[in-house]
Symmetry: C2
Subunit: 787 residues, 2 copies
């Protein structure tokens, strides 16, 4: 049963991890600079590791409780095997590991990037991007390794020769969902915790340091400056790593589950078989993910610049080149993989339309839609958040009349940015579904996520460059070092914004694929919001992202205020800080951020996980579906709104660094308008780095929890029960001009003891004849018996 | 056919209008004060009337285009009569009239309230509340008069003796929907236009006057001060009047439409008849509305205080007394009306559950749920926005660290406030539906809205008192006058916040009732979000309130910036303004606000009206249903978020007037923390007065447009077409412990040429027997033929 193709993703994943180790060794071999630089870098690393250690300790408690709960579920529900607990734990560990690897290399790479920037910009890019590459490959490699290894094991465990393939595969995939659940849960806590940490430190450092004391960013006299740099690593690096790890796994899982439905639909008349053990549609997303790793490795070789006097545009061009080449390779490979692994024509049952024939190339087109929409949403995100573009300039103009108009303008920009993003997203759902059903939607998401390693490399190099600038500033290196790291940092800000757009798009598509898997899995007829309980839960679901965001923001506010008071206290009580003769107590600030982040991440995390369970148990499968849809719709809006508003505010503030023209006058840093822009940026900080990115995980995790508890809910197709269901759909067409000309198609689907047979009958004739014929037919007689 | 009961609401409405005229004459007879006061009051009135005149001119163009479009629809669709155009136009005129009456009396009452405040506080309350009463009765009277008069006419036109009651009534109610559409369209423009006007003037006046020049609110030296006071009237008074007029009409309409469905369901076996021409369930909401007017009149007599040294608490108590008495009277009356007008047992068909028997007292319980939830949501709103409560104090505390933390705290408070509101709202849907289906939901909304006259009187007295304070300040009256108007103003702020909570709750329930009417009207099976097109439109719908809010906020920002620059210019160019020797050019500021408001209200208005039409035509009835649900879910969240954040910021700022303790120190006006709070309030202004309240109209109007275009969409039950539909529902119960014991219920509903018959069949026996029996039965053979 196990084909060579199942080993392929494992090999590709290991390849990626080997390349990661090579790159890691290379980065570590670089010169870490002077003793002062080493010591600063060490402080940042220690702070970050201390936070992660404390976080893991807390998450261990969560993991134990969740494991026990999952084990209990597995003893009650016959389709859930206890092995799901192991999958869950390993998923959690892998997710933590992915974040950890990224963070360690990022804290190693910062001083080395600063040191490299002493000699040249190309070298600095190489080191910082090298760090990013390690992180990207670590995340992608672990994700593909974990999911394909577990899949191999579960196929061995559950799939029997001559057994009921669909139901056995469902059990295997449900156990695999445990891996995804583990990964996504840790991601949620890491994202929220990291987000609170980084912004508490950042806001705290900025408010007292920059605004009150008037000292520049990363000034060593600011007691919160180490905490701020630690924050970049635990939030932007470790948090993001865990986030994308979770997305990646969930996307592949959703596509596999929907692949299983395709196989079921194709087995109605004859048992489906192909050269891949009858698992082609399930294996496809796994193999595409594996190929994406190789494509990303190739892409990373292209990210380099030669010119030491290069500016932002050249650096951006190098990143774009690498990115597009890896996307292109993946796309071409997908074409051949789809041709090879899928039958020429697929049969898929469409809701309300019955079984349709889908050419396999439609699946490829769905992948293209995924990539196209991902790219376009990134373009939209870049437009709304980039320096020099209309929205950011609009905020800049509105800064001249004070902080209030700056805030209003920023909020409006974030809100307006939902328009194009949502239209594109709706088009992606519509298009990929029309092409290849929900399997198409899932593969669109898979295609988007395939080059995660490259995406993450591009994303992660930003915070490394940012930290390098911090190290340069604190070590009082020459100005040209900071200038070079600033170029990288500035490009990093743009790629971060674009990456966020991409992350939202892929998370939303993944959530939809999971949602589709959930509906099919529970065996309900659909989610009808004309039922009051479903509608009520749609509203409750819509409220969750808002509450989640509020809690995250309040946590930042609370932690930031503690930080502000501590920094103020240190300025007051420690003599000679401002003169540079006294040393601030950095550790105290690190400690405040750590404690606040850990305390505050618990409530939003629990709300996300527990609410769907309660709703599912109290109201049943369909209302839970309404809840999921509510979370998705509202979550996507709030994600786009918060990320883009935050990004736009950030760059509006940055615009003043080079100077901007307001009402015909050049305005610079230190002006009143700039101060207003700093206020906007401070408001935007938790938006774009705490609550905004958490939305992605919130929507995915909600759908995953639903998928995992689906077997407990009433309507589940239980393989151990004797069950018969008959479904007849009657479609009648009547020629308006000729009452004697009518057509009817009757599709009958009978599922008995897990086997499904379909029969199609066409009737033509006068209206009366057709009416008489169709009346004889059943439409949907469902009998459920539990023996 | 026309019973006396149809005349009753007309008489009650006329009674309300007569009482309104008496009150109006009384207010106008009061002393308007000194020449200076008269002149200021005149300026405000002229500015307000000039704005309304300009607005009406623009809306005339819209009304003409919309009328032509509606006329074309009526010629194409056989169920839509051209009379809908007349209903639409009259609805629009009545809505404008309601706003106009309110605004005129408010501008008359302001100086008179200030003059009354010279002698005593009780007298000032009497005058300002008298003005509010005029407005409340004007709105409610016109609404009930319009809808019951048109209903009388349409019943005469469409209902024939011995004809098909359900289909004829559907035509009558569809024509009536035109009245509601006209009212709601004008309401949208009035709300948005008025909201932009008032906040542009307010923000402009505050930013330069209070923050830059450091002169107090309503200082006559501020050129924008007249515009600011005009804004209170066109936004808070005229806008709100049109808004509630629209809500009121839409609620009653939705309940009537759903009443018609109840009659249809009860006519399956025998034609329904009662002592009210077979229209009891349709007439009930109209009669309750009429009774609500009388109850409100009685309530207004109780709003009075005796003590001249009374404080906010006493004034609030007087208002509460009047409010609760009118609610109680309405509730008691409803009990008897329901007993009298409805049959003891109602039959309603529930989705997926078939025809159920509902005792009429369940309808009363649904009304109680409506009132309870309305009151509770008001309590929640009050909690999140009131002085001295935790959320506002939280914002105050966060003001000490600057504008940024104040903003973050305010946003978080607004977001958090969605939690309880949405839970209550979801409970209301769930509960009232469980009690009496969507008819129950509609009657819950009707009960909430029944005392609109009283609600509005309480709401409208606030802006009058606010304006009275402005007149007192500008006329440089003695301090105790301002103190007295300030007490009234402060109570007015609380009632305004509570009123907004109430308005959201009622708008959301109304929208749901309209949504239910839409689904039943189009004849679709429900709104299944498991279909990709429906899901895509759910997302698009979710985006609309966000975009709408963004456009409204940006408009305020744009207009406010123009205003700021104008005020700055006047301070610079007109000599002696600050010394009080030069006179500012008030008219110029009024002009800027007027032009900006009119220009900016067009786009959001058109988006609201045109988008559902496009989606309906392009994608069909079910995706449009998804769109509506998306707008409702997202709209409710953004309405609560924006209104409560705005209200909380406002009161956080006001907290500094009496002084607040921050970190153990008393902090007052003029402190840095206060300045931060002023920034928050400025951000909150468009939230709570422009975009937030527009959400109500947005969601109602979206559902209304859907209802009106429903006949154009494919699935409509067209009475002129030959149509047969057969629906069989099979329910099987099996005893787990005894496989020989199974039960099945088969309900067959056949609709042929508009007539519906139902047959219920019970089968008992062994599983095999039941299975064999049920298989013989059809379940849902639908044949549609267009001859």
């Amino acid at each position: 049963m196990i084909t060579n193709l199942m080993i392929a993703p494992i090999i590709l994943a290991v390849l990626g991890l080997i390349f990661m180790f090579i790159k890691m060794t290379w980065v570590k071999k670089q010169n870490p600079g002077s003793d002062k630089m080493k010591s600063i870098s060490k402080s940042i690393k220690e702070g970050a590791l201390a936070f992660l250690a404390a976080e893991y300790k807390l998450l261990l408690i969560f993991a134990i409780i969740a494991s026990v709960a999952l084990f209990i579920v597995s003893t009650i529900v016959p389709t859930t095997h206890w092995i799901i607990v192991i999958a869950f734990i390993v998923g959690a560990i892998f997710s933590a590991l992915a974040g950890n690897i990224g963070m360690r290399i990022a804290t190693d790479a910062n001083a080395r990037t600063a040191e490299a920037a002493k000699t040249s910009l190309p070298k600095a890019l190489q080191v910082s991007f090298g760090g990013g590459t390690v992180m990207g490959l670590g995340v992608a490699g672990l994700a593909v390794l974990g999911i394909s290894l577990f899949f191999l094991i579960f196929v061995k465990m559950f799939i029997t020769q001559g057994g009921d393939f669909y139901n056995e595969m469902t059990m295997a995939l449900e156990a695999l969902a445990g891996f995804s659940l583990g990964a996504e849960s840790i991601a949620l806590f890491a994202r929220v915790g990291g987000g609170i940490y980084t912004k508490a430190a950042d806001v705290g450092a900025d408010l007292v340091g920059k605004v009150e004391a008037g000292i520049p960013e990363d000034d060593p006299r600011n007691p919160a400056t180490i905490a701020d740099n630690v924050g970049d690593n635990v939030g932007d690096v470790a948090g993001m790593g865990a986030d994308l790890f979770g997305s990646y796994v969930a996307t592949v899982l959703a596509a596999m589950v929907l692949g299983n439905y395709v196989i079921r639909d194709m087995s109605i008349t004859n048992k489906f078989s192909d050269n891949f053990g009858g698992m082609g549609p399930i294996l496809l997303p796994l193999v595409i993910a594996g190929v994406g790793i190789v494509a990303s490795i190739i892409g990373t070789f292209l990210v380099r610049i030669k010119d030491n006097t290069a500016k932002e545009a050249e650096v951006q061009k190098a990143l774009d080149l690498g990115n597009w080449v890896s996307i292109l390779i993946t796309l071409v490979a997908s074409w051949f993989l789809i041709q090879w692994m899928l039958p020429k024509t697929l049969q898929m049952s469409f809701f309300g339309e019955g079984l349709l024939n889908i050419p396999s190339r439609h699946v490829f087109y769905a992948c293209m839609i995924g990539l196209a929409v991902g790219a376009l949403i990134s373009v939209v995100t870049a437009y709304y958040t980039s320096l020099g573009k209309k929205p950011v300039l609009h905020i800049v103009q509105n800064s001249s009349t004070g902080a209030a108009t700056n805030i209003i303008a920023g909020l409006a920009v974030g809100m307006k940015s939902t328009f194009l993003s949502v239209i594109l997203f709706a088009a992606a759902i519509y298009g990929s579904y029309a092409l290849a059903g929900f399997y198409g939607v899932a593969l669109a998401a898979s295609a988007m996520m395939a080059t995660t390693a490259m995406q993450l490399a591009i994303d992660a190099f930003g915070p490394i460059a940012d930290n390098a600038g911090g190290v340069a500033e604190m070590s009082e290196l020459e100005d040209h070092v900071r200038e070079r790291t600033d170029i990288l940092d500035s490009v990093g800000n743009t790629t971060a914004a674009v990456g966020k757009g991409f992350a939202i798009a892929s998370a939303a598509l993944t959530a939809l694929a999971l949602f589709a898997a959930y509906v099919t899995f529970t065996g309900i007829d659909g989610i009808n919001i004309f039922k009051a309980d479903v509608l009520a839960m749609l509203f409750v679901g819509g409220m969750i992202p808002v509450i989640f965001s509020a809690l995250a923001m309040e946590s930042v506010g609370k932690a930031a205020m503690e930080m502000v008071q501590e920094v103020r206290r240190q300025f007051k009580e420690i003599p000679g800080i401002m003169e540079g003769t006294g040393t601030p107590d950095y550790a105290k600030c690190v400690d405040i951020s750590t404690k606040a982040a850990l305390k505050e991440m618990i409530l939003p995390g629990l709300i996300t996980i527990i609410t769907p369970i309660i709703i599912g148990l109290l109201f049943g499968a369909e209302p839970l579906g309404g809840y999921m849809a509510g979370v998705c719709v509202s979550g996507v809006m709030w994600a786009i709104f918060q990320n883009n508003a935050g990004g736009a505010w950030d760059n509006a503030k940055k615009s003043f660094e080079a100077g901007v023209e307001i009402n015909g006058e050049m305005t610079y840093k230190g002006s009143d308008a700039h101060k207003a822009a700093v206020t906007g940026d401070t408001v935007g900080d938790p938006f774009k780095d705490t609550s905004g990115p958490s939305m992605n995980i919130l929507i995915k995790l909600t759908c995953l929890v639903g998928l995992v508890i689906a077997p407990i809910l009433g309507n589940h197709t239980d393989i151990n029960n004797h069950q018969t269901s008959i479904k007849k759909e009657v479609k009648v067409e009547v020629n308006k001009n000729n009452s004697d000309n009518a057509k009817a198609t009757i599709t009958t689907t009978i599922t008995k003891n897990g086997e499904t047979t379909t029969e199609v009958k066409n009737i033509e004739g006068s209206i009366e004849e057709v009416e008489a014929q169709t009346k004889k037919e059943d439409e949907s007689t469902k009998i459920k018996t539990n023996k």
